[in-house]
Amino acid sequence: MSDHDDFAATLLSDTGDCPPGLRAWNGSDPAQRFAVYRNNVTVSLIDALADTYPVTQAMLGEEFFRAMARLYVRAEPPRSPVLAWYGDSFPDFVQGFPPASGLPYLADLARLEMRYVQAYHAADASALPMADLAGLLADANALAHVRFSLHPALETVRSRYAVVSLWIAHQGQTPANSLGEINLDLGEAALLIRQGLEVEIVRIEAGAAQFIDCLRSGASFADAVHSAAPFDLSNALALLIRGGAITHFTLQE
């Protein structure tokens, strides 16, 4: 049984070819009928990318975005029937796509959008009760050695470009007004945090993002603080606590 080889290969080609062995009851051209399948595959996968990357699409315009997405779909069709994560390599594709090279921030914007999807569907977890944290926060010695577990939906983004401002500007009703005021060359960082059912994207200092990334990788509190560029620690901690992002901690000597 090799007919699926031909069928599958032809689905992802742009030649208008038809796999062998197909027929139509009335003698009409099977290639034209086969094209329905090719169209279903391509369009549904482009739609899946458009769902994940709405702001990237808004920056490029629908026509440009879909043309680029079509090339991506052909180059990197899904490996899994779970499409929530389809397109996780799309930001890298965007980065290497010459026609989009005039928009150097685009790949990081796309990365932010994929992190949003990841945060949206990540596992649920309960925040540590404030009472459990209060004692710890009051004891500087203990705090230095503590290792925090953070919520699975927590994500950070750091970019050389103002992609967080770009993303935020597209969430309101009138994005065009504020877009012009964004200085794209000012680097930004963001914390993505899911509280209840909503994913919130908050602009944070680059140092705070480094600190949070270190905590996530299992560093002690003191090591995470020291390995990050200067940042407002109490602000960052308040953000994590208010967002219910600390789920567990362990004390180690």
Binding site: H4, R23, A24, S28, D29, V36, V82
Partner: protein
């Protein structure tokens, strides 16, 4: 016409007789756009159906809403990515994800398609056709046996909407499906819209197609809308778009089918151009009304026979 040929449940394994089943009423596909409205309105409805793959994520809003809605309604989990008609072995990772989902939500029904969607490690996100031969029959039956064994339950198999036929096919689609049902003991999810679409696309007779199916195995019916195109010689080519209301011809074929099967759980399917919840509920009421008209005294939960509160 109103006399069912058979309404006895599948008796292939002891467990299935005792398992809960979907009520013989209309249901709709559950869409994230309608999560809040469904919970706020809790409309009168036979069941909800979800695509399994959309809920193969760890947590977040999709599971939050599905758990709440499942607690209030019967549930059908409908897979679109198992690739039962595929030539390679079934994806064991995917089967494991399915098993976990079924374990979590304990749906009254699980169904999949007579089609393939993955090949050589790639997923095409479409329901692709296969030739109907002795070889493909053996292959599909082996896959369904494996699925039913792995999931520990009977599955329903859905007839496809197709646009091409294979020169290699040696049997008709309904004959192929009959053989699969007979050999594996799976149930049949009869998509009446797909019968209409395939009959138009291949110059067949939809009524004959249905009469040639193992109707005793029908455990659910799907209804949906199609889009109209033409083939290279200008004859109609219907596209199973799931993006339009159910067509008049399909409602008529539905009534014909019900006359043969008796009342059945009936899904209004809409996956594209999704309208307001009220529009889908209205179509569900149309299906309920047809069942009521045909089987005045036997449809549970309708006006004529309301369950006590």
């Amino acid at each position: 016409m109103n006399q069912p040929l058979s309404d006895t449940p599948f008796m292939g394994d002891a467990a299935s007789a005792a398992s809960p089943v979907l009520p013989s009423r209309a249901g709709i596909g559950l869409k994230p756009e309608h999560f809040r409205d469904v919970l706020a309105q809790t409309p009168e409805l036979g069941f909800f159906e979800v695509h399994a793959e959309n809920y193969m994520v760890a947590g977040g809003p999709f599971h939050y809403y599905l758990e709440k809605i499942r607690a209030r309604y019967p549930l059908s989990i409908h897979g679109v990515g198992l690739s039962i008609g595929g030539q390679g072995p079934l994806d064991e990772d995917h089967l494991a994800r399915l098993a976990a989902l079924l374990e979590r939500y304990q749906p009254e029904s699980f169904s999949e398609h007579l089609a393939w969607s993955s090949h050589a490690g790639r997923f095409f996100n479409d329901l692709l056709p296969l030739p109907y031969t002795a070889q493909s029959l053996a292959h599909v039956c082996a896959h369904i046996d494996h699925v039913q064994e792995r999931l520990g339950r009977r599955m329903l198999l859905e007839n496809p909407a197709t646009y091409v036929q294979f020169a290699a096919s040696t049997m008709a689609e309904n004959e192929f499906i009959s053989q699969v049902v007979c050999r594996t003991g799976c149930g049949l999810l009869l998509d009446v819209n797909n019968v209409h679409v395939a009959s138009v696309n291949h110059g067949g007779n939809a009524h004959d197609y249905i009469l040639g199916l193992p109707l005793h195995a029908v455990a659910e019916i799907h209804l949906a809308g199609f889009a109209e195109a033409t083939d290279s010689i200008g004859q109609p080519l219907l596209i199973d778009s799931h993006g339009a209301p159910v067509a008049q011809a399909v409602w008529a074929l539905y009534a014909f089918t019900l006359g043969l099967t008796g009342p059945k759980p009936t899904l209004i399917e809409r996956d594209n151009a999704i309208p307001e919840l009220a529009v889908l509920l209205h179509e569900a009421r149309q299906a309920d009304a047809i069942m009521e008209r045909l089987f005045k005294d036997s449809v549970p939960g309708t006006e004529s026979q309301k369950a006590p509160a």
